[in-house]
Symmetry: D2
């Protein structure tokens, strides 16, 4: 099995032309897992329907090109908010069986240190009575653990657990805030990855004890999701493929050095000016960024909590500049609200890098 | 005469506590020129009155503390839009006569290469029939030339011409767009600084011929201003004082290397990670940033022209991150719309730096 | 042929449950024409994708339930902006052949004065070189004339010409503003309905000569449409069915008496308090409302041109209250920008009413 | 003592020209009480500073024209949000001693049923520990009772208690929501007016028990206020002056008949079309409007709770149309959020009317 990542631009949330071209390149019979991570360009307010439109169209495209069976093995993550320096785009991540010929030819053997591996997990439907509760945490924990196993990784080898978690119960109209849904999703992942003491994961801490956090999780809440859905990525020793992943925590939204360290760890070269030497080798760059609970940044007041715009909108735009100035491109999957995914105001950076000419030719 | 720069935070647009403390430190009898550059935190939409409130309160504060004569020698520039990583704050720039004792003690003599010098200029009232026209350009050109002379600089020595230009005629209700007002203001400055061929400065080029631009101008439009008002900064050989200024063009909003070059040229040290070693030595950092007329960035589509937010808002937030990640602080005077102040989508960075311990002690 | 109107609520732009129930009640073999008028609930800003989502889902629903042939005979009009007192909802208007039994039983014969009749028209694709030009006007005029003929009406009998007009050429990326697209669409309809002097319909008048307008047209611009599409409604003498339509101009957005007059003319009873006696008898209420070009209302300044919100958003909300207070319900199809569809700041009201118990039983 | 009401338009929140002309007409020596009610035109979002600007300028104007003593006897109420059909404007309400000559000439004697009378009340500073608590309620109750006494009215004679209530404690940074501040202010007024059972006014009911409400109160929260400030209006038997006030509850935001009833009760004539015959005779029209807690209106879903705009913005715009279509003008003081000031989703209408030619001449 080899994991490949394609990126595709969109002309609008309903546009699937470039995605479809990527899908056409896949042989449904060889696809073990598929994941689609897409940034959509609506207002990111409560009446933004770009995510629903894009998600609907993407399902149609996968169904039309790869069929029902692959559709059922696909994780969809549409995240709204492609502002600032960002380009509206998506990543198609596929775990595919190698063609026998290609496998035979690849005499170089698996890369030392492993190569990118992916796994997915899904909880059962979350009940209204469970939304935002310890049961929700437990369901998230189990889904992450399943995804880790599916990827053939140990919890320590996981570079990123990407968790999508519901906002509402589907049997009764209970609804929690996005921050609450993210809190339980992140804490479930932190437990599955062995990053926090289970004794501290109690309701009073949800969304409040900001010293309690995973270091390798990104959480997304969804008003359409009925289950917790998880995508796990990491380097698996012995895996085929040449992609390498690395991740690391960011101190705050201005932490460009932290982003450079992650890119370097994944194998990307940097210029003396602090920019990525060959952006085309960066197969994926994902950043989760946050703001401090008191609205300050490096000790100074900001307006993220007192403007007419959602704090997450400020943070995504700022980070699009910070990460964009390092990568030299706006094709970055930036999302905001890092509750329980980093220290207060911190963030997470994840990079997947292709081997350079030298390495690939070795 | 010595130019000093203080920065002060605000708790809101109507707050003048920290500004007043800075004003109290000045002796009105010694103040030759005063300039106030302030970022206010309203919505930056058409019904944002934060600038008017802040401007009103600042005038009161200068009047109460330094009197009518100094008030008349003061340039006020309130710029709305303190989003993203920015802190709502201001710079108080004062050109003051040294105390005789201090002047005598300063045996080290003027700094080689000169020290920061400032000058101001003001046009007569711009008539409604002139707004946005070649006459408006000529008035701006003359006001900039006056400010250059007032600063004791040659046009070549100017690091920054900061131009505030009216949107409306005060004798009749003619109104141009902010982009049009900025266009004529910038072209007037470009002429005064000898940066463009006068034959090319024709109405058909205003706001359209984006290859025509100053490289050392920042323009601001104002619905309250009746005249073109100008502040000019540059290093003057033989000037007393220890502040050094440098400026340089930015290729686009992601040009962090360009910001580092300007900071280094002004004397700020940088770490191996690409951040400013001692942010307290940076007396001022001003950035004018822009977006390309077609909305692309490094060849990729962005949403700056197709979202519900003003493009300038996107750009300010992005740049607050890019410059903030270099400076390590959100106290940066970021503004947007670089028409005729840089190439299409480009920008301008200006830094003023205090001498380090080593230099000061030399 | 009998025209029937059903209204259906939506739980969101992607919801077609109630629409589908209405569609299920139709026999595809008997449907001559179908029109769907839907208010969607996005932000109504440039990055609102609710209309695209709703339109996509509605096409799927019509296709799934009534087949390709009926789909091709259907006019879709999705209009975003369901604010204030409005309920997100839609009208399904169908021209259906009577069941023979029902036709035989209906011994009462056609209503005196006629009954509601509908017709549709479509132009060929509008080229980029034609968008916003006299050719665009001519295409709109022809499409309206076709729709009038399709409805079996004379131009004088038309109560409403509902025109959807493209914003862009589909062969080249020319784009006009929504106001410009509406201007040419409305003037084309005014010509077809014989309401304006053709000699005055010249480019210099488009969007500028506000004394030039249709009195029975509502125009909508669409970034997806490639053709001018038209729905015409009017009472046709001899038509079967019992619905009655009336329309009339409104002086301004506060003209509640004008709305009452139209409702009364269509047959709705009013209470002494000025409200509709039986809202269920009102099969449809459509209002196009506008603001004066100078932003005043009854001689006083308003903020519709100087706020951070689109003027159309103000106007829709105001009219939702004015018309809602008369109808006693928020199920009203309110849209804004009445350029060339009314005098400056004026509007158009259209009501379709079912016969009351007394009339029906006669 | 005679109460007079002037209305004045503003060209912007900082404009006091028309207000100043009204102030110039007052003799400071005769002014017993002054109240200023002003609608300002900012965005009404959290970073709208129009209210602060207008309030600042208004205080300066009163001070400059009427002096410190009158300033201290003045109640200022600046309410942001002048959208839709509204005109940005204000009311200047003054209780002035008659000139002896005028008093002697007025042989007609006091109007039967009384004439408009005003009173003001102020609590002590509200402590941070009291904000939103029963102590806050008690302070509001006492301030209303003081204002009732100051007006020379009985609680039953009060037509309107207008209450301004702080959001924050001034000794410590405790802050409640605007809805919470309004809840305690309204309940205090309801107690003072004898409208609710004191046993039901318990913390668990604040903002939650929507069956508990005053019928003659409008509440406004203020982030600048340190005290509860109250203006009370009512007809006092024996009072001089000719203005008459009436108030009444509205069922919901579409209740135009309710508005007509209040106008008629205050003496305004209505046309057969349901509009005010002579708008100039309406000295003041104030409306507090609300939305139901579940977002429905007359049984149908609206988008007031699910759009990107504050529900209050929707409601103000809708009501500006409903009331504007009755009055025939946008000079209406419309505000939103009627918690504890009406039943769920209801509102309050208050009208002050001048005598007509017939009455005045009698």
């Amino acid at each position: 099995m080899t994991v490949r990542i394609d990126s595709f631009d969109t002309a609008g949330p309903g546009d699937t032309a470039a995605l479809s071209a990527c899908l056409d390149a896949l042989d449904p019979a060889r696809v073990r897992r598929l994941a689609l991570l897409v940034k959509t360009e609506g207002s990111a307010d409560t009446n933004d329907f770009s995510r629903e439109l894009a998600s609907w169209r993407a399902r149609e495209a996968v169904l039309a090109r790869l069929g029902t069976e692959v559709l059922e093995r696909t994780v969809f993550l549409h995240s709204t908010g492609a502002e600032g320096a960002m380009t509206p785009f998506g990543y198609l991540i596929a775990d595919v069986a190698e063609e026998p010929a290609a496998a035979a030819q690849d005499a170089s053997g698996p890369a030392p240190g492993g190569a990118l591996s992916m796994g997915v997990g899904r909880s059962r439907t979350v009940r209204g009575s469970e939304i935002g509760s310890p049961q929700h945490v437990a369901l998230a924990e189990r889904a992450v653990a399943d995804a880790v196993a599916d990827a053939g990784l140990t919890p320590q080898q996981v570079a990123l657990a990407l968790v999508k978690t519901p906002l509402t119960g589907h049997d009764e109209p209970v609804r929690v805030t996005s921050a609450q849904a993210k809190a339980v999703g992140a804490l479930g992942a932190a437990l599955a990855l062995g990053e926090v003491d289970p004794a501290r994961v109690v309701p009073a801490a949800f969304g409040r004890d900001l010293t309690l956090y995973s270091r390798r999780t990104m959480v997304f809440s969804s008003s359409e999701a009925a289950r917790v859905e998880v995508l796990v990525l990491g380097n698996r020793p012995g895996a085929t493929g040449t992609l390498r992943i690395a991740s690391g925590q960011l101190a705050d939204v201005l932490d460009a050095p932290g982003i450079r360290r992650v890119l370097a760890a994944a194998g990307a070269g940097l210029t003396a000016e602090g920019t990525v030497r060959d952006p085309d080798r960066v197969a994926a760059l994902l950043v989760k960024a946050g703001h401090r609970h008191d609205g300050t940044l490096r000790g100074a007041r900001t307006t993220v909590l007192t403007s007419h715009l959602d704090p997450d909108k400020h943070i995504r735009m700022v980070m699009s500049g910070v990460a964009g100035s390092v990568l030299g491109s706006g094709r970055i999957f930036v999302s905001a609200n890092s509750v329980h995914q980093a220290s207060d105001g911190g963030g997470l950076c994840v990079a997947v890098v292709r081997p350079g000419a030298a390495e690939a030719g070795a």
